[in-house]
Symmetry: C2
Subunit: 457 residues, 2 copies
């Protein structure tokens, strides 16, 4: 490779020139022809030369354009809409601090368990590496999920369960199945911002009900069902995003009765469930997967890179959702991804990993409260688990202003209104306690608060 690169550099070989034949060059270099083939193929992969089918190798006429992280950096002038936090945090410069993001720092994740599971996949059956998955996805992972459902007291038959490309893709698939443009969908206020981005893509009308410390406000829920007749309700039950609140048994029961009275379908996104210190009431369990559709994934606890989610619901819905998934993504979710996840789960290491995370998060939660309080930023409630703190800024501050100001200094925050369909969370902000350890967070927050002080003060 070095010899050829040298010839190109000193112009012994110009753009478009044919490279020496494999045999001739092997003789020149006193190596085997297969070594030359490998060198040529690697040079071609690097873009220095190109292989023409059935003809040979030629020096590239156009250099491969450089491509660096810098080109992917998000535009900072974007509107603070439901995409804002995701785009700013997914594509952030690695030096950016991200108290606004929705995942744990990489070094909190069980890399050794993932490496071991991935090595097992590499050693395992060939078809898992190369073939399309079955339409419902890996049997091993579905069986493990059924065991987890049984632990929750939900009996899930195999025809009630399918894997999907991710938790988000699972929600999206359900929305595609039930919704038509112009339909109405109910969300919590505040709710996970990407529910809003997703529903916008579905061109539906979004209505919202205030979320209280024990779940959606039931009188408001009832009135909205009667007035708006929403087709779907999207929610998180355990450790609600962004508030960290927990649905109470009584609210869950009343909510389900209202849903039945108005023929509402409920999508319960359970993605934060494993962060609870002990399981709370779940709509899917009360309802027995009748009108509740359970969705989840291991993106927050094991790997967001593997991309694997699931849907548990009525068998007739699952059958149609499987067809829809075949039409829109062909085959089930990645067998490699499913085997990576099921490998970690089956090894038994997941429970210890989650125990460790819960312990660590409890400490981080308290520490973040202690950091924010001197700035006048107060948690709306102290969550039982998870990594979010939904906080109120001092009176009069606009959290979007604070977020924009902080972004310019390399700190991504999550301003309240990206979570609020009614745009009533101007003074709120969601903090990810696992990303608040860096002293820069308090420092930049303080500067931004000073800069954004309400003009009336």
């Amino acid at each position: 490779m070095k010899a050829i690169r040298g010839k190109i550099a000193n112009r012994a070989l110009g753009p478009g020139d044919r490279l020496p034949s494999i045999r001739a060059f092997a003789k020149t270099m006193q190596v085997s022809p297969s070594t030359v083939v490998e060198a040529y193929d690697r040079l071609a992969a690097d873009g220095d030369i190109r292989a023409k089918r059935g003809s040979g190798f030629y020096v590239s006429t156009t250099a491969l354009p450089p491509l660096t992280l810098a080109e992917d950096l998000p535009r900072t002038e974007r509107a603070v809409d439901p995409f804002w936090v995701s785009r700013q945090s997914l594509d952030a410069d690695p030096t950016t601090v991200k108290p606004g993001c929705g995942w744990l720092p990489a070094d909190w994740m069980p890399h050794e368990d993932l490496r071991r599971a991935l090595r097992n996949v590499a050693r395992g059956e060939g078809p898992v590496l190369s073939d399309y998955g079955s339409t419902r996805g890996s049997i091993a992972l579905r069986r493990l999920l059924m065991g987890r459902f049984a632990d929750e007291g939900i009996e899930v038959f195999s025809e009630q369960l399918m894997l999907a490309g991710s938790g988000t893709q699972a929600v999206d698939l359900v929305c595609r199945f039930f919704l038509r443009p112009g339909d109405t969908v109910l969300v919590d206020d505040p709710c996970y911002f990407n529910f809003r981005a997703l529903l916008r893509a579905h061109q539906v009308k979004v209505v919202s009900v205030p979320y209280t410390r024990s779940g959606p406000d039931i009188p408001s829920f009832e009135a909205t069902l009667a007035a708006e007749r929403p087709r779907l309700y999207l929610t998180n039950s355990a450790l609600h995003n962004p508030t960290g609140a927990t649905l109470s048994a009584n609210t869950a029961h009343r909510l389900l009765n209202e849903a039945a009275a108005h023929d509402l379908i409920i999508v319960e996104d359970d993605i934060f469930a494993d962060f609870e210190p002990e399981p709370s009431v779940r709509l899917a369990a009360l309802d027995g997967l009748n009108r509740v559709i359970r969705i989840g994934s291991f993106s927050k606890t094991l790997s967001a890179s593997a991309r694997c989610g699931y849907i548990a619901a009525r068998p007739d819905w699952i059958a149609d959702l499987v067809d829809l998934q075949v039409a829109t993504s062909f085959g089930g979710p990645s067998p490699v991804a499913a085997q990576l996840i099921s490998g970690v789960l089956a090894s038994g290491s997941y429970r210890k990993h989650m125990e460790g995370l819960r312990r660590r998060l409890a400490g981080a939660r308290q520490k973040t409260v202690d950091t924010l309080r001197p700035l006048g930023i107060e948690p709306w409630l102290m969550p039982r688990g998870g990594f979010y703190l939904w906080c109120r800024l001092p009176d009069g501050y606009d959290s979007a202003d604070v977020a924009r100001t902080s972004l310019a200094k390399g700190v991504v925050l999550a301003p309240g209104n990206v979570f609020s369909a009614s745009q009533t969370a101007t003074s709120f902000m969601r903090f990810n306690v696992a990303h608040c350890d860096d002293p820069i967070v308090a420092e930049i927050l303080q500067q931004s608060l000073q800069r954004c002080a309400p003009s009336s003060l």
Copy 2:
């Protein structure tokens, strides 16, 4: 694990009973406490016992339901619609022979290259294993793709390229972006059956033009554009699915002029391009990614399990498509999958692998023709490459009948009308030559032809 299972089997431990404490059982078994923890965690993963958070381990009260491949088997009574082939082949019993399927046999795939690349991922950076990808996907893979585009003579800037969850998901994303229910979309007749399934999910009107040996029939294409004003045209240029035909330069040029005159957007799905003996003309190259959107993946050549596709198009469209992908699947496609694919590509082994596949397929193509001819089944044309043969059955036969009859005997075929929007391919059938080697194929085909002989004979 054996000791606890024994206690459960002989009822020393009953459903719901608490297991011995870690410490006590470690002493009994004369092993370390950590060994007991691991055994308990594995038993819990297997569903024999369960862990209650903060409380201990208990014998499961409900056994994990068995879950076997048999439960996933497709229903054979399904209608022969665009989903038929995919459901029958994706979920087929492993003993089923699948001349109707759209992929190569597992043992034709480069498992050693994939294993090596996967081991490298397992050894690599932790965040790749655990974190969300950037919204446009892996830089390494995008750079390799840009090199491949340069080889084709298409200059693609970084803001014109994004990765997607798969080739199908790429087509779906483009359709979501451009189409609204009731819009009109143009396809070839015949075309890839899943385009039909996908467009059905989008609730659009599908119109089609006959596909000739050199591309779509241009007079018919022109008339359809004028009369129906389709918004999009979905097609494969190189080695068209199912016919194996190649678009000619003249047809490509005329087609693009018609598209410009009627403001038609073209989605060129290039998934079979690497199977061509030498590259043919491409719409994306002629058009310079103006109104043509290039889509592709490595599902047919490297791994359908890794799930990774791409979209190259105008920068303003890519920016919006990236937002839509964030809304509907959050984050870019799996970093693990992208690194697996880019690892194989960068190693340089891909070219040799593809050379081998092309050689092997050329032999299989001729052999399949020789097998089918005595049955009166004739190829419509002899493709330059790829694994499909689009064949005509003897006069009067209905290929759907033949496919249904063969399915009952464990052979999945691909009857013509699943590919035909106009339902005019009753007497055609697509054969995957890489799956026609088993003598059972000719045997069952012959029996089915006898059984389905036209009544007029």
